[in-house]
């Protein structure tokens, strides 16, 4: 079986426990305004630039090849309690490939994490959860209209899916991107908190502060920078968000 990826990153230390290798699957149904990897969104291989600057984004890879690459750092996974993470794009958007990858990595004895937006059919999510050791689950926005405005979808499916996921035994970590001016309003955060507290399980949560890292990337891929004026949240602001979300007193 083959799938479309755009990168494999070794020594990934922010995508789950321990030292990990992260496979980025290509293609995403969402269009988040703050996306760090806009080149990962299309479900196809694309070329950018010309001549010496020409870069090809995306490649096809078989499950066997992918697992061979991912397992290269096993010694470091063992030492750190790490493993492999499937991210994207949206990994659940290539369900057969992802499930095959999860099975193959499971057969290798590797710890498996999946980093998802949650925007996928429920049965896909549950099939993935049955094969993953950890799901990193994004919650971006509590207001449906704003969600549609900022990501292209209203988020209802994402919230329903999360409830269904909570009913499984799979470990979940919530990830909340914090984008100043877009989803950091007091009301937005209060509603988000209420939703999270209404879930049947208490879930560990990590805030991901917006950073401008990717903004320089957009012109390279022929795209206008989406949030030209949005600042990165300060440490004080991050502390306030944590308080508002009930993470600290």
């Amino acid at each position: 079986m083959r799938g479309l990826i755009f990168d494999i990153k070794r020594f990934a230390i922010h995508d789950g426990p321990g030292i990990r290798a992260t496979l980025f699957l290509k293609g995403c149904p969402l269009r988040c305004a703050w996306c760090h990897n806009p080149e990962s969104q299309p479900f196809e291989i694309r070329c950018y630039g010309e001549g010496a600057r020409r870069t090809v984004v995306g490649r096809e890879i078989t499950v066997e090849e992918a697992v061979r690459e991912l397992a290269r750092d096993r010694v470091f996974f063992d030492e750190s309690g790490g493993g492999v993470t499937f991210s994207g794009g949206e990994p659940l958007a290539q369900p057969d490939f992802l499930l095959a990858l999860l099975d193959a990595c499971g057969a290798e004895g590797l710890h498996r994490a999946v980093d998802t937006s949650g925007h996928a059919p429920a049965e896909v999510l549950l099939a993935v959860a049955a094969r993953a050791d950890l799901v990193l689950y994004d919650l971006k926005q509590s207001d449906p209209a704003a969600h549609r405005d900022q990501t292209g979808v209203d988020g209802a499916l994402i919230r329903e899916n999360l409830r269904a996921l909570c009913a499984t035994g799979t470990a979940i970590e919530l990830r909340l991107p914090i984008i100043p001016g877009l989803n950091d309003g007091e009301e937005t955060l209060a509603r988000l908190r209420a939703f999270i507290e209404s879930l049947p399980r208490r879930l560990p949560m990590r805030l991901l502060p917006y950073h401008r890292a990717a903004m320089g990337k957009y012109p390279r891929f022929g795209l206008p920078p989406p949030l030209p004026d949005t600042p990165e949240p300060t440490a004080e602001e991050m502390a306030r968000y944590r308080m508002q979300l009930g993470l600290i007193q």
Binding site: K9, R10, F11, A12, I13, H14, D15, P17, G18, I19, R72, D73, V75, F76, D78, E79, S80, G81, G82, L208, P209, H211, R212, A213, M215, G216, K217, E232
Partner: protein, 786 residues
């Protein structure tokens, strides 16, 4: 840090470094008077005794640990019996902008009138160059190898813990016993042994006398001192210096002072490579620390202050400068004292104790150029110890470096050492493995691997000079297979190693005959028992290392030749050589292809790494296990110090796309910028070298301080180290880079391709980031490191 320590630290940091002619003058006086009067060993012992009877005694305000190598802190003595500075050398040292050594008119006068006229024609350096053959000199001048002992004595010595139990009088008793056991009827070397042993005894007395002069001086100062607290301290110094080093220390303070006299005496007797290493100080000092704490006479803070005073003393002793200096060539003040912490005890138990942690704190607080420190990390050591060390690493001093204690033991056992001696060992200098207190493990020089390939690609001729210095291995334009390239390299390698070893044999024999290290021999097993000097093979183990440089550059060069000339046949050997000769002028496309379309070492790429291991096997075959002149064997080391810069400067463009004259790769690190798959891939490539068959390897990794931050950052770095060591890696050091480096990387991305920075929630290659983001990270880094 107490105010006392702050003052001592400032003094050590700010006192200008000067040349002192005192030692040179005393040596000149003594040798002029006594030449021919004593045996060679006794001459050395008596010369040390003469110096120690006359050397100015320095006891600084605030000091608790006393003694200097020169007449005062940072006044550097010289060693004219080894190598004699000319007047112009001294003037250059005084004027050069980097690593300057102040030389005053009086020093120049002493040199001009006394030192130079006597020593010219009598130095070791001259004797060495006189007996080295022309082919050695040709290879040396071409930059195939360097020679450590042409300016300094064999060194690289590390002490163990035995003198804390014996005291010098205990050694004198051993010497007397060995003398009494000499059998003049049966032993044809008995007279030589007697001379050596008697010289050792004189050297012990010389050092005891030097300590006693410190006691006298401290008492004088105490009598004149108006401050009762300081008066009491001076009396304590006097009492200490009356007791050690003659007797075993009775408490923690005396143990520190005991070591310090051993350190000074060994680096004053001769200027050995690697001043002197104290070994496992945490374990040697611990019994005294525990005993004093239990008795209530010492607490952790008092121990810290004493250790900090002790630490600063190392920085007061900059390395003596070389001769033949030019204005452009600078040196280093670093004399490479490297303190070992942690590791495994001789009986196999975890060696970490409370002092291991306290010494890491002291290292962090004092953070001067010297001494540097390392941790010997065993799988038996707790993670808390590794984490405490990484916390200091994060500060960006470049130390402590981290060694694989279990691997180091295995290396030594493989080299035939007893396991308890191996566990008592560790690493010193940069990364070199040795059995502390029992081994003379001598660095003999660096070997320029890419240069040897260059000679092979020119059929034995150095293209830089047109001189034939190698053997004829055939015109590479006629090579039909890649194997022929490797075969030619292998033959040139063996040719040059033969020349190097033949030169070393001469030099080692010269040192054995003419320049014994009699005091050092007291401290190293089994010199007393054998009645044989350290420089003549008296140590229990006698190793000679050749340090191979440029494994990354040669691997990538071979990989490029294989791919582009033989596999793809995209360029002929003739065109490649023409491109290299032109330094890629007009052949830019070739350079890009060689550099960017070649599988390179450092990427966990089996094909490229197999070329590295092939070269490594050739090195072992050429070097490992050859006998040296001291009854021991040669082994391979993979460390560069800064020699990769010099070696690059004598090398034309190389087939990995490197321009002429630029540095070659250092240690076993990949070529700067060749590694593109992150630190785990680098570690896996490096671990494909069977490092247990070396005497040390060096691997550098660069990180921004923020990679160490966060809840889990330090644990993940710890796991990175543990993973490398599980694959038998020897050493890793983390360069935590600052904003200045990042700015440099922005200007010259090609040199910093491997630089990893923490961006925000993830890490990335700095050079891959947008300019805007780079600027932002630089700004942030400045903030973080401030």
């Amino acid at each position: 840090m107490t105010e006392r320590v702050q003052r001592l630290r400032t003094l050590s940091l700010e006192t200008p470094i000067t040349i002192s002619a005192e030692r040179a003058e005393r040596m000149t006086e003594f040798y002029r008077e006594n030449i021919g009067r004593y045996s060679v060993p006794m001459m050395r012992a008596k010369a040390l005794e003469y110096l120690y009877r006359n050397q100015a005694i320095y006891i600084g305000e605030d000091e608790l640990i006393v003694g200097e190598r020169g007449p005062r802190p940072r006044a550097v003595p010289t060693y004219p019996e080894l190598t004699c500075h000319s007047e112009s050398d001294l003037r250059i040292l005084d004027r050069r902008p980097l690593t300057r050594y102040g030389v005053d008119e009086e020093t120049l006068r002493v040199y001009r009138e006394k030192v130079i006229p006597f020593w010219q024609g009598r130095t070791m350096r001259e004797a060495i160059f006189e007996i080295l053959p022309a082919e050695w000199k040709a290879a040396y001048e071409a930059g195939i190898f360097t020679e450590f002992m042409e300016q300094r004595a064999p060194g690289h010595t590390t002490l163990d813990g035995k003198f804390y139990e014996k005291g010098l009088l205990g050694f004198k008793a051993d010497i007397a016993e060995a003398l009494a056991a000499l059998d003049f009827g049966a032993d044809p070397h008995a007279v030589a042994k007697r001379e050596e042993l008697e010289a050792m005894a004189v050297a012990c007395d010389a050092v005891i006398g030097f300590a006693a002069r410190h006691a006298d001086r401290a008492e004088e100062l105490a009598d004149a001192c108006e401050d009762p607290a300081r008066r009491e301290e001076l009396r304590r110094i006097a009492e200490t210096c009356r007791h050690v080093p003659a007797h075993p220390p009775r408490d923690f303070r005396e143990a520190l002072q005991m070591y310090w006299f051993m350190h000074l005496a060994t680096i004053t007797e001769l200027n050995g490579w690697d001043s002197m290493n104290p070994g496992h100080l945490d374990r040697y000092f611990y019994p005294f620390y525990a005993q004093d704490c239990a008795a209530g006479t010492l607490d952790r803070e008092q121990a810290r202050e004493l250790l900090e005073c002790f630490w600063i003393k190392f920085n007061n002793q900059p390395a003596p400068p070389k001769v033949g200096v030019t204005a452009a060539e600078s040196g280093t003040y670093n004399d490479f004292t490297n303190i070992n912490l942690g590791g495994i005890l001789p009986d196999g138990r975890d060696g970490v104790n409370e002092l291991s942690y306290l010494m890491l704190e002291v290292m962090d607080a004092i953070h001067l150029l010297q001494p540097q420190g390392n941790i010997q990390l065993s799988r038996k050591n707790p993670d808390a110890f590794l984490q405490a060390a990484l916390k200091v690493v994060r500060q960006g001093y470049g130390y402590p470096s981290v060694f694989n204690a279990d691997g180091v033991v295995e290396q030594m056992v493989r080299a035939g050492k007893r396991i308890e001696d191996a566990r008592e060992g560790g690493t010193s200098g940069c990364v070199e493995t040795g059995a502390f207190g029992k081994e003379a493990y001598i660095l003999t020089g660096y070997l320029n691997l890419p240069k040897i390939l260059e000679i092979a690609l020119h059929n034995g001729t150095d293209p830089r000079t047109g001189r034939r210095i190698g053997v004829e291995t055939g015109d590479p334009r006629r090579f039909e297979t890649f194997d022929e390239v490797q075969g030619a390299f292998d033959r040139q390698l063996r040719h040059f190693v033969d020349i190097k070893v033949a030169g070393n044999q001469r030099i080692e024999q010269l040192f054995a005959a003419r320049m014994p290290a009699v005091f050092l021999s007291v401290l190293i097993d089994d010199c007393i028992r054998k009645g044989m000097d350290y420089n003549a093979g008296g140590a229990r183990y006698n190793t000679s290392y050749i340090q191979c440089v440029g494994i990354g550059t040669i691997t990538d060069s071979l990989s490029a030749i294989r791919r582009h000339v033989f596999d793809r046949r995209a360029v002929s050997m003739g065109d490649l050589l023409n491109g290299l000769a032109a330094d890629f002028e007009g052949a830019e496309a070739l350079q890009v292809a060689l550099r960017d379309e070649t599988p390179r070492y450092g990427n966990d790429d089996e094909d490229a790494d197999a070329l590295m291991t092939r070269v490594f096997e050739m090195l072992l075959a050429a070097i490992d296990g050859r006998p040296n002149a001291r009854g021991g064997r040669y082994h391979v080391d993979m460390l560069p110090t800064t020699c990769h810069i010099y070696f690059g400067s004598v090398l034309g463009a190389s087939a990995d796309g490197r321009r002429a004259g630029t540095p070659v790769s250092e240690g076993i690190s990949p070529v700067q910028g060749a590694d593109r798959k992150g630190p785990t891939a680098v570690l896996k490539s490096a671990a494909r070298m069977d490092q247990l068959r070396t005497g040390g390897t060096l691997l550098n990794m660069k990180f921004l301080p923020s990679v160490f931050d966060g809840d889990e950052g330090p644990a993940k770095l710890g796991a990175l180290v543990r993973g490398y060591f599980r694959m038998d890696g020897h050493h890793v050091q983390f360069n935590v880079v600052d904003a200045a480096t990042l700015r440099e990387a922005q200007a010259h991305p090609e040199r910093h391709r491997d630089l990893i920075v923490r961006v925000a929630g993830y890490s990335d290659y700095f050079c891959d980031l947008s300019r805007e983001l780079q600027d932002e990270i630089i700004a942030r880094t400045g903030h973080v490191s401030a």
